[in-house]
Symmetry: C2
Subunit: 564 residues, 2 copies
């Protein structure tokens, strides 16, 4: 928002304040040693390896770089770099002083980063292990829970704990409750005990209750961790490959009313509460093979575009919270988009980089799915909603597609890119499974949830341009106004959206975007997050006498005892 | 709470203010004609067939009575009894003036009633149809969505609509968003349009978008409804049977610190924020066969106990919101409990009443699962946690079981029922599937979610008494203190629970009670309800300038535009 310093997600290992990356062949170490004085905002000290958004930005960055810059790494150990501390979780004073929207945004990002750790373990052959060499409290233990294995030092004092409910009157909201019972299979009554016992659980009991996988005395701890890391690396199915590619700094230009990158632009209309995002397709043919892809590295269009879009999503979410609607456009040649996708598809089975780029596209599209903004796709002449870029449209709450050409071709949509013919979209094989949503369905399957037969029908339409009338008939778009109505109909839809309550829209969209099955991931973003958001608004936690605000003051919180 | 008039859930068709039950052979009609002046609390008029808790109590009652008192009914039509109105949904002024806890409780009960409608359709061979003969707005359309089929009058003006988001800045929170996409398979972008378009959708478009199953002009509407009702009745797999049994008035006695029924007692300790619920097992052997069961009717122990427990749960939820912990006890002879269960199990395949009682037990246990109170089972000498009553313990957040006998047998637990031997629990076949939770798992399967092998092991232990040490070993109880520690350990656990934030506990319990799969039912109680609760706390809806409060005043709501 204007007047508030913008948060930047740019960082790299040479600039980390809070963690160190150490690589040793197949094994990497992420050592948390948070700089107390290095908080992102003033007003709190990051004691005991507690974290704020700034720390988590570094964590997200290192998880991402390991996948692209260190393809040789097959196991990653997260451990504490301070004396007797693994991680004390989200900083309490930071939470206590933060606005509601900041807390919710912060939690969403930390949840996505924990998800990225699990994604690397499951899909990328980089298995994460938590070497809990000291206190792992709250979000600290939740960070360990995102790892595939947890080794706890058995020194008679170190515990894993979830003190949020008893000390702060909030939930362990970074996936902890869900991962306890759904991922680790902790019995639910024992999970209840863990989540209400502020001192946590130590040693053998922690292992018996399935809170950790192994306990080791200090003398054997390092060896036990290394042994598990080596075993994980040996099991890894990571695709072999030579050197990594460098994730070079993003070329981002920010002005009052625009954020632009080479392949992505966002135009900000503060009066209308609207961001218009335009993703540009590739300008050139894709390289002939995976070797060409490696040679291009971070400038290979799908990766470059994805990094820019990912950065834009994160920036808009935290820096532009009053812009509640994102209109999503594309421009370019659908054929070139599909050509790049074909190369990725052909190479992904054997080439680590192609595989990583597809996984990164999937993660970025998932960020859109859980973004608390209304997403409206505008499919116009000159656009390139094909294959991976069609996912952008399918992630939107509604799709408007111009039928024919604009009545007044000098108007906004008509003039773009000098497009002559009518708008087209193209389905690719990738739309049927390469970019699954959090509940495991493709976006097309999610769209056709009530009519599975329609999905089979759509598969027959793969690879050819589909114009508006047919797209409407096939259920691929919501509305297809003609050139006479387009500008008015889109304007009215965007104005209407801007007039509605942001909270009601957020709740509505969170419910409608995920028909059908649920997974641990969707449970974290739905059930757990929604309850946490509710609790964050309640005086028992966030009010002046609530537990979050009174923590550390010596005064007990005052609770309204009514159960709702 | 003291000083507030208690809500009673007692009613019967002779006392209904808001609806009429008409039966005609296999088909029953529930005609909504809400008495404007008959609101449960002062301050609002129930115009246009809008409802409050009092209306929904009658609806829940009629759905329940149809199953027990009208076994001949195989299809139930819900329709509007006012001119051009089906149902306008939850009364807005009632919502606007209600406390947060009242709104949440109200929504939970209405959700459970909609669930009971679906349960009758799915399991009881009483298929519900909505004859939408006039405006069905918001909760009115959501009531129709709970029915198996929806017939809409096509008169050029009548619409189904979800105006909550655009008019009130809250969600269609009685399952509507979830049922649109998950039950009826409405495409999610169209659901987005429906849920933001206050005027709703009429005629053929409503059918094309799958919002209704059929549209019929006024001249053919009644015939179309009757035809569908007859077809549903003809398809019904309802078990045949003679006359219904009467659900006689409950014998409830209420004092300042106790609510008692013949088979269930609740002791209220307001200082401690604690309710101690004691369910008594049967005093007599079960009848020999289904005929004997019919002869006993509402006095057959499982049904009598279940009705009392159900009424108690509902009463405590709405009338005693500051009593945040329920300790759950039983007393009696486990053998008699199991004898009654065996009769039900043997008869349920062919006898409608036995089947209905099992389904009612299932629904009542599910009410416990979604009750926002901490539930602590106390398993003591003299208790009868066996078969269906063991479900009560398994529904609890924790289970404490006394190992041995009390050190001081004159103390509370020891003196009860003059029990001599140590506490025992007994698993029955029913515990492995007769009483599924909302996510389809048995409570034992839910408990063993992380260790499926344990479930198979438990099946071997069916039918024999299990004492505390073994129950602990088998993972059936959380803690098994001995007689020396029992009183202290239980007291400390209950005091600790009472000291925690009610909101944090509610959120924690809602997350831990449902490991594993999700269903439409759990999605409604988790994702949808949690978001609605959050929205109910937000100033954009419930603040003095929010949409709920400003609705009907002519003043537009003022929204904080920040997206969280």
């Amino acid at each position: 928002m204007p007047g508030v310093p913008a948060v930047s997600f740019d960082t790299d290992p040479s600039r980390y304040h809070h963690l160190r990356l150490e690589t040793d062949g197949e094994i990497a170490w992420i050592v948390l040693a948070v700089d107390e004085a290095g908080g992102l905002r003033p007003g709190y000290e990051l004691k005991l390896n507690s974290y704020d958004l700034g720390v988590d930005i570094e964590l997200a960055d290192v998880v991402q770089r390991l996948r692209f810059e260190h393809p040789e790494v097959r196991a990653v150990v997260i451990t504490g770099g301070l004396d007797k501390v693994f991680c004390a979780g989200a900083n309490i004073r930071m939470l206590a002083q933060s606005e509601h929207w900041w807390k919710v945004n912060f939690c969403k990002f930390t949840n996505e980063t924990r998800g990225a750790i699990e994604d690397a373990t499951e899909h990328s052959g980089q298995t994460y292990l938590a070497a809990v060499n000291g206190t792992a409290a709250g979000g600290g233990y939740e960070l360990a829970l995102a790892c595939d294995e947890i080794i706890l030092v058995d020194d008679g004092s170190t515990a894993v704990s979830m003190p949020e409910v008893p000390l702060l009157a909030v939930l362990p909201g970074t996936g902890g409750l869900t991962r306890l019972v759904d991922k680790r299979g902790v019995r639910k009554d024992l999970a209840d005990v863990v989540a209400t016992r502020s001192e946590g659980v130590r040693g053998k009991t922690a292992q018996t209750w399935r809170l950790v996988d192994e306990v080791a005395p200090p003398s054997r701890f390092d060896a036990a961790v290394r042994e598990r890391a080596r075993a994980a690396a040996a099991r890894s199915r990571r695709l072999p490959g030579g050197p990594g590619i460098e994730l070079t700094p993003l070329a981002r230009q920010v002005s009052d009313d625009a954020i632009s990158y080479p392949n992505v632009t966002a135009d900000l209309d503060r009066a209308a509460g609207l961001v218009t995002i335009t993703v540009r397709g590739p300008r050139d043919e894709p390289p002939a093979d995976a070797a060409g892809l490696h040679a291009l590295g971070a400038s290979f269009w799908p990766l470059a575009m994805c990094r820019e879009l990912d950065d834009l999503i994160l920036s808009l979410r935290i820096n532009e919270v009053e812009l509640g609607t994102w209109a999503v456009r594309t421009s370019g040649d659908p054929g070139l988009v599909l050509g790049h996708e074909r190369l990725l598809e052909a190479a992904a089975g054997g080439d680590w980089l192609a595989s990583e780029i597809r996984l990164y596209l999937t993660r970025t599209f998932k960020r859109l799915d859980v973004t608390s903004r209304s997403l409206i796709a505008l499919i116009e002449p000159g656009s390139c909603f094909a294959g991976p870029l069609l996912e952008l449209a399918l992630a939107c709450d509604r799709q408007y597609m111009l039928d024919g050409v604009l009545d007044d071709p000098t108007g906004a949509a008509g003039a773009r890119d000098g497009a002559a013919g009518p708008a087209q979209i193209v389905l690719s094989a990738g739309n049927f499974g390469a970019y699954p949503t959090a509940n495991g369905l493709s976006r097309l399957a999610s769209r056709c949830y009530g009519e599975p037969g329609q999905l089979a029908k759509l598969e027959q339409e793969t690879g050819r341009p589909i114009e508006a009338a047919e797209a409407l008939e096939l259920g691929l778009v919501t509305f297809a106004p003609d050139g006479l109505d387009w500008e008015d109909e889109v304007r009215i839809a965007l104005e209407e959206r801007a007039s509605l309550s942001p909270d009601a829209l957020t709740g509505m969209e969170a419910n409608l975007r995920f028909p059908g099955p649920e997974t641990m991931e969707t449970k974290i973003f739905a059930r757990l997050t929604a309850w946490q958001n509710w609790i964050f608004t309640r005086p028992n936690a966030a009010g002046p006498d609530g537990a979050l605000r009174r923590y550390g003051t010596g005064q007990r919180a005052v609770f309204d005892k009514k159960r709702a």
